[in-house]
């Protein structure tokens, strides 16, 4: 066991400090140390997207990032999407469109879709599918997820011109 490192970050707009081993992934730190278990582990090797979080201004698969790399960064996880008890429009759209079945992939999709809508306020179906292709869902066949994201885009950014 190697000596633990102190990491100072901001998680969901709150300053957070944690102690981790240098070998621990950011995913592990979030889930097992900080206690934010909303971010899920489906593969541990960057191929399912269920551990997707926002790190600074990019989205990452947190299983492939070390906890120590988060020092000084700002992180958004699924727990940080809603405003108090008001759901984020994406969260609401996922419920309205039945875009989750088991729900294990949902946190990753929500974070990835949120980043998509910040970059492309009115993504086409193709853009949406491309952007979300790092996130696996085995339950839904993606149809209702794509529809939910596009509905949320309109909710957030108004109808496309």
């Amino acid at each position: 066991m190697s000596a633990k490192v102190q990491v100072q970050t901001t998680i969901n707009n709150e300053p957070v400090e944690f102690l981790c081993e240098p070998r621990q992934s950011l995913l592990e730190c979030l889930r097992d140390i900080v206690g934010l278990t909303g971010t899920k582990e489906g593969c541990g090797d960057g191929n399912c997207g269920s551990c997707t979080v926002k790190l600074g201004d990019r989205i990452v698969t947190s299983c492939l990032v070390l906890g120590v790399e988060a020092a000084g960064e700002s992180i958004t996880t699924v727990e940080g999407l809603a405003h108090g008890s008001t759901l984020h429009p994406l969260q609401k759209a996922f419920l309205d469109h039945a875009a989750l079945q088991c729900g294990i992939c949902t946190p990753g999709f929500l974070i990835a879709a949120d980043a998509l809508l910040q970059k492309h306020p009115h993504p086409t179906e193709e853009q949406t599918r491309f952007w979300l292709s790092n996130n696996l869902c085995r339950c839904t066949g993606y149809d209702k997820i794509i529809r939910a994201v596009q509905a949320a885009a309109i909710e957030i950014n108004g109808a496309a011109q």
Partner: protein, 731 residues
């Protein structure tokens, strides 16, 4: 049916929705307990080997390690002891042997030992320190090879070499039937081993208390099955085990069997602390139960009128390391969509050195439907008949006898075929060259099995629902809606909770497409009991004999009370109302599904693009249509992945070379178009609302529909699934 419903058929927000979109819902791996430690499992690198020696001393000596277990720590399993979990019987020795190998390892990935340590990293380091001496044995990886004379034998005690079970169904006069045929087509098709691919890996946390009680938390399709199987493996009474089902991240049949639960329990017994085990993705691929690879040969004869005169099938399914290859259902479904007089079906359950297989959505049926539905496609082409028309001429209906014996009650085969014919996609032109359209249909039985539910009326007019069916795709809501319908309430007036095995009556797995049907029946019955008791309260209040109830209002002699008004007076009229019902129903309604798929194949690269898909299924009655569509879309997507890409790619030594999502390559959002759905509703007479169950039949048609579409696009009849670029280009 002209029945109108208030709640059934609407699309309310699911009850667990807010928890699941905010990250609050707790899945198995999310559990944190005081003093909890973490485990790791050591797995065999050999597909077939004798275990000569296991030395755990170095692992035990590593600082931070609390316990190590091997098969020797478990009570022995008598050779022929059968355990019945209400889902069919299992040989205890197979169950035990698969959980931790003793004597021999039978597949690469077979669990050999497990460690519990202060954290998962230390546990993994310790597992690597366990020394195992193996004597490698020759391995056998496919059913035809395993059936051949001289094949390496997995189990000495099977009477027929590696064939664990023979199945045979016979009806009519096969030779006479073929003699009447004017067109006969025979084909043999292979399918590869595939995995359910649920995104959440298996997990289990257990605490073996000093009073002997064992508490297990896990992601399972059936908490009672997990309880009973764990108790059997640990050789303790079932009442000594309590299973708390956590939220479950997908199952599709793969989370019925236990793998980690008894191991976590035994580690906990040794360590005196709660122990959590979570599989890696590679462990999931190599150490859980994929669904069988198969070889299926089908021969069908048809007369000039397009009527099938005879059909013959030969099926060999790979069970993996222990018997149980789902060849029974494969054989029973191979011709189940059709009315055929002369049939012979032979099935072989064959053990091979691969992971012990388990169910995957309509287990066994896609493999056999692939052969039947591609042969029919070829026959339709030969006869110059539309492929749906050929199927319509032979479609099973009420009274049709299946080859395994029983006759159908009301079944929606014709309705599904008609809906396919009338669908927008079937009537749209294909976009251009190298494109093809394929169709296929499939049947699945669905299941009954026991279920229990309790409804308790709250003073504010809402109702708490206690049930034991783990919710994988919105069943809290489809069950609540059935209660609401009976009680004249809104879906959101019902508060469903899924509880542990100590807190509700026995409930079978969330599987076999049974939850909305069977647990729905329990909920329906409990709701009717609530209505009766509430009527009695109103009668007492009004001093009348008869009270009627409709649309949520109790009335008699011009007086009336809404459900909520009466609920507020329960305390004063005799106390709370709480009703429980248990069922073990008959009346299961099978489901027919169909698929239309348009593909485009790049002739240079052999890559297939899926252009358009329509999934059609007889739901009986769709309680929550959005989640019915979701089941259809999900099963279709899985079936397309199975058809085009997915396979266990094994090397000659039986090692899986693609045990990651990167290489196993399930469909992504970019691989699929929108999935159109048509819900057909031919009510099941065996359920008060007509429910049949929709979880499984939808995965039966895609393999064949894709194969047929590829033929139309390329002119080639492929005989191997996955039909990936290499297969398509004939490489």
């Amino acid at each position: 049916m002209s029945t109108t419903y208030n709640v059934i058929g609407t699309r309310p927000i699911r009850h667990d929705g807010a928890d699941k979109v905010t990250g609050r819902a707790l899945y198995g791996a999310d559990l944190q307990l005081a003093r909890m430690i973490h485990g790791a499992v050591l797995r065999s690198p050999h597909a077939h080997a004798r275990i000569l020696r296991i030395d755990t001393s170095k692992a035990e000596a590593l600082p931070g390690v609390f316990a190590v277990v091997t098969a020797a720590d478990f009570p022995p399993a008598p050779a022929d002891k059968i355990v019945d979990f209400g889902e069919g019987d299992t040989l205890l020795s197979s169950l035990r042997g698969n959980i931790l190998a003793s004597g021999k390892v039978l597949y690469s990935g077979h669990a050999v030992a497990a460690v519990a340590a202060v954290n998962a990293h230390v546990a993994a380091e310790a597992a690597a320190l366990i020394e195992v001496d193996y004597e490698p044995l020759p391995c056998v990886l496919t059913a035809p090879e395993a059936m051949a004379p001289g094949a390496p034998i997995l189990h000495e005690n099977l009477p027929n070499g590696n064939v664990a079970e023979l199945i045979r169904y016979e009806m009519g006069d096969l030779a006479a039937g073929f003699a009447e045929a004017t067109v006969i087509v025979e084909r043999e098709l292979d399918t590869a081993t595939v995995h359910q691919g649920y995104i959440e890996p298996q997990n289990a946390t257990a605490f073996w208390s000093s009073d002997g009680r064992i508490h297990i938390w896990c992601s399972t399709q059936g908490s009672f099955v997990a309880r009973d199987a764990s108790a059997a493996v640990l050789d303790v009474p079932v009442s000594q085990v309590k299973v708390t089902p956590m939220e479950i991240g997908g199952g599709f049949g793969g989370k019925i069997n236990v793998y980690l639960e008894p191991v976590a329990a035994m580690l906990s017994k040794k360590a005196g602390r709660p122990v959590k085990l979570v599989m890696s993705r590679r462990d999931v691929f190599t150490g859980t139960g994929p669904t069988p690879g198969s070889r299926v040969r089908v021969k069908i004869g048809v007369n000039d009128a397009g009527k099938i005169t005879a059909a013959q099938a030969w099926l060999a399914y790979e069970a993996g390391a222990y018997p149980g290859a789902m060849v029974g259902p494969g054989a029973m479904t191979v011709f189940a969509c059709y009315d055929i007089e002369n049939v012979l079906i032979e099935g072989f359950d064959v053990v091979v050195n691969k992971p012990s297989t388990s169910a995957y959505r309509a287990p066994g049926a896609p493999n056999s439907a692939l052969a039947t539905e591609t042969v029919l496609d070829e026959i339709a082409e030969k006869l110059g008949i539309d492929p749906l028309e050929l199927r319509l001429r032979n479609a099973a209906k009420e009274g049709t006898r299946r080859a395994d014996g029983p006759r159908y009650k009301r079944i929606g085969c014709i309705e599904v075929l008609e809906a396919m014919k009338a669908s927008p996609q079937y009537n749209a032109p294909l976009p251009g060259p190298n494109c093809g359209r394929g169709v296929a249909i499939g049947f699945w039985f669905n299941a009954g099995l026991p279920s229990s539910a309790t409804l308790s009326v709250n003073a504010d007019g809402t109702v708490n629902l206690i049930e034991g069916s783990t919710d994988i795709g919105g069943s809290r809501t489809s069950l609540s809606m059935q209660a609401a319908e009976v009680l004249g309430l809104r879906a959101e007036d019902i508060h469903p909770t899924i509880v542990d095995t100590d807190s509700v009556g026995y409930t079978g797995v969330t599987g076999g497409s049974r939850t909305t049907f069977a647990t729905g029946l329990a909920v329906h019955d409990a709701a009717q009991m609530v209505v009766e008791q509430m009527k009695a309260r109103a009668a007492r209040l009004w001093a009348v004999d008869e009270v009627s109830f409709s649309n949520g209002t109790f009335s008699a002699n011009g007086q009336s009370l809404t459900f909520a008004q009466l609920a507020a007076q329960l305390g004063a009229t005799g106390g709370p109302v709480s009703c429980s019902a248990t069922v073990n129903p008959k009346g299961v309604g099978g489901s027919i599904a169909g698929l239309i798929i348009d593909v485009k194949v790049d002739p240079e690269t052999g890559k297939t693009d899926v252009l358009r898909v329509t999934s059609v299924q007889d739901a009986g009655k769709a309680i929550h249509p959005a989640y019915v569509e979701g089941q259809m879309q999900g099963g279709t997507a899985q079936g397309i992945g199975w058809a085009l890409n997915e396979e266990y790619f094994m090397d000659a030594d039986g090692d899986m070379r693609n045990g990651s999502y990167l290489d196993y390559r399930m469909p992504t959002a970019l691989d699929l178009p929108m999935i159109e759905t048509i819900i057909v509703e031919v009510p099941n007479p065996g359920h008060p609302f007509g429910v049949r169950g929709v979880g499984e039949a939808n995965i039966v048609p895609p393999l064949a529909a894709v194969a047929n579409a590829l033929y139309r696009a390329t002119g080639k009849r492929l005989n191997r699934v996955p039909m990936n670029p290499a297969t398509i280009l004939g490489l």
